[in-house]
């Protein structure tokens, strides 16, 4: 039998205590009782919070709402879809080949994986919905004219009208005279269709009985200012910590605070969208978060970081009762 004292115990032996079975004092611990009490407490807390505060549930926006509350914006967006100047029409992968997508150094995964959810903005958002319903004679004639024109002619009509409409501050009644072909009639026909509520159903069904993919609706809705304005009013924009906000005064995804944090840095959020960090922010911030997640995952193996708990002795607070009974080592 050997005799030792605590302060003469080798450091390696002390460290090894974490690796072997505990040989010190024990206490009774009813783990099942603890679990049952925890479940009851959490259930009661949840019921109380739900009963007192309910939950956020703002109804979804509709194309009908957009076309009736902001008809000029809807009309202008329809023209942009035909002209190929909308955000969706010029997005690039995974929706189309109109752009290369974002690349950071040699990393160009957006381009690498290509088009996996094809979206033809002019046809999917304007022409096909118009064609799917019985239309007035002028819209039917306009569709026939559009169909019989070459692709170049279609583009020329639509881009000329898009430019003229922009010059007229979006007011179709003030657009300068020009050869715009059937574009004004098609845009008005789609606006009328949306105002009547028909476009919501047509875009949802997409020519099939069942479907669960809302990619086209979301893209089209986001091309105008209607969705963006609603998000701004609800303080949901990314540059105002919107990622962790929720409609109303409810807590949102607060656990995304670090992801949201990067978007608040001016270099990732400048007024000039051509700034490299701003235009590449989505990719760069994702990579930063991926690296940080990896660091968190592998923390036990990273010298320095893994020693922080030893340097900042919060553990003395956590185990204060036990340390009182322990000799200082």
């Amino acid at each position: 039998m050997t005799t030792r004292t605590a302060d003469r115990a080798p450091a390696a032996k002390r460290a090894d205590i974490a690796s072997r079975e505990w040989k010190g004092p024990w206490r009774r611990y009813d783990i099942v009782k603890e679990g049952v009490i925890a479940l009851v407490v959490v259930s009661i807390l949840t019921v109380l919070l739900a009963g007192l505060f309910s939950s956020p549930d703002e109804p979804p926006l509709t194309f009908q709402g957009w076309a009736t509350s902001a008809p000029d914006n809807f009309y202008a967006t329809a023209v942009q879809e035909l002209a190929g100047t909308s955000t969706s029409a010029g997005y690039g992968p995974p929706y189309n080949t109109a752009a290369d997508g974002i690349s950071v150094g040699p990393l160009a995964p957006q381009q690498r994986f290509g088009v996996t959810h094809p979206v033809d903005a002019a046809n999917d958002f304007v022409i096909t919905p118009l064609r799917s319903q019985l239309q007035s004679a002028d819209v039917t004639d306009a569709l026939a004219t559009w169909d019989s024109a070459s692709s170049d002619q279609q583009t020329a009509w639509a881009t000329d009208y898009d430019t003229a409409l922009t010059d007229a501050d979006g007011d179709a009644t003030k657009v300068a005279d020009g050869d715009y072909g059937p574009v004004p009639v098609l845009a008005q026909g789609l606006t009328d269709m949306a105002s009547a509520g028909a476009l919501d159903g047509i875009l949802m069904s997409q020519g099939v009985f069942y479907q669960t993919d809302f990619t086209k609706q979301i893209l089209f809705l986001g091309d105008g200012s209607y969705l963006d304005d609603a998000a701004t009013a609800a303080h949901l924009q990314g540059n105002t910590w919107g990622m962790m906000n929720e409609t109303g005064s409810y807590p949102g995804q607060a656990w995304l605070w670090l992801y949201s944090f990067w978007y608040q840095i001016p270099q990732f959020n400048s007024d000039n969208p051509d700034d490299y960090l701003t235009s590449h922010a989505d990719a760069i911030i994702f990579y930063i978060m991926a690296v940080l997640s990896l660091v968190l995952l592998l923390l036990p193996f990273i010298p320095g970081l893994r020693s922080i708990p030893r340097w900042i002795p919060i553990h003395r607070l956590i185990w204060r009762d036990f340390y009182r009974t322990q000799p200082k080592s």
Binding site: T3, R4, T5, A6, R8, K13, R14, I17, A18, E21, K23, G24, P25, W26, D30, I31, V32, G35, A38, V42, L45, T46, L49, A50, S55, P56, D57, P59, P60, P93, P94, G101, P109, R112, F113, H117, T212, D213, T215, Q217, I218, L221, L227, A230, M243, P251, W255, A283, F286, L297, L298, L299, P300, P309, R310, I314, H315, I318, Q326, S329
Partner: protein, 262 residues
């Protein structure tokens, strides 16, 4: 019962009850027992059966008194230890309320009072879940809980945390309200920029529902079980720079205390 028969199940009169058919019984034998039939399968401690091996491995790694212990080291005495089990409790509430929501569907929880209340239960249980989980995570960080070959416990905990974020994110996408519209519109750009959007389409409600209501909860659940089993098998990490009774303390009078290690 014969004196040398340790198990009544293999009494000669009972043999026919444990063999496959009368043809298996050697009727020429004095006891009617086929010598190829193991009279008591399952008690051989060195059996090479896969089932036996699995049981032995499980029992050596995690015997019942470690799986469901009724005692813990004396240092397991802080409120911080409660947050792990609170996280699991909140997860159970999330599963139950989420199951009801998925079963009844959006038309129910958007328009009826019981539906909205169930949606609220789900919403607040998720908020509680993350509060508990983050406190648990910070607690384990400051306790340096990865010490003593517990790195995998930490890693499974972090993976559960990240998978939970993914589960919650897809939950926001399947609310089928304005929030879902905005989040899917905004989130697509970040995911598309790194190529993930080519396969993980935030605007595809069917795909998001599959992930949120089935695959990701399964991932979180399996990892959480793994995490808990690791905690049970490794034990709760002892305080930093502590000693246990293997090295006894020197009494105040200076006399050496006797070491208690056998």
């Amino acid at each position: 019962m014969t004196a040398d028969s340790p198990n009544p199940a293999v009494e000669p009169d009972n043999v026919q009850a444990v063999v496959d058919s009368p043809a298996d019984v050697d009727t020429g034998s004095s006891v009617g027992l086929d010598p190829t039939v193991d009279p008591d399968p399952g008690i051989d401690p060195s059996s090479s059966m896969w089932t036996s091996r699995l049981r032995r491995a499980w029992m050596s790694k995690l015997p019942p008194d470690e799986l469901l212990p009724d005692r813990q080291p004396a240092y397991v005495a802080s409120w911080i230890y409660v947050f792990g089990v609170l996280t699991l409790a909140a997860f159970l509430v999330i599963l139950v309320t989420g199951l009801v929501l998925a079963f009844a569907g959006p038309a129910w929880y958007h328009t009826s009072s019981p539906g909205l209340f169930t949606n609220s239960l789900h919403f607040w249980s998720v908020q509680l879940f993350f509060v508990f989980m983050v406190v648990h995570l910070w607690g384990k960080f400051w306790m340096a809980a990865w010490r003593g070959r517990r790195a995998m416990t930490w890693i499974t905990g972090v993976v559960a945390f990240l998978a939970s974020i993914g589960t919650a994110f897809t939950g926001y996408l399947v609310q089928t309200n304005f929030d879902s519209q905005w989040i899917s519109f905004e989130a697509k750009d970040g995911l598309n920029a790194v190529g993930i959007g080519a396969f993980f389409n935030v605007a595809n409600l069917g795909q998001m529902l599959l992930l949120h209501a089935c695959l990701l909860p399964l991932v979180v659940g399996v990892i959480a079980v793994w995490h808990v089993l690791l905690v049970r098998s490794r034990g709760v990490v002892p305080p930093i720079d502590t000693v246990d009774t293997e090295f006894s303390v020197t009494p105040a009078d200076g006399a050496s205390a006797t070491e208690v290690r056998p």
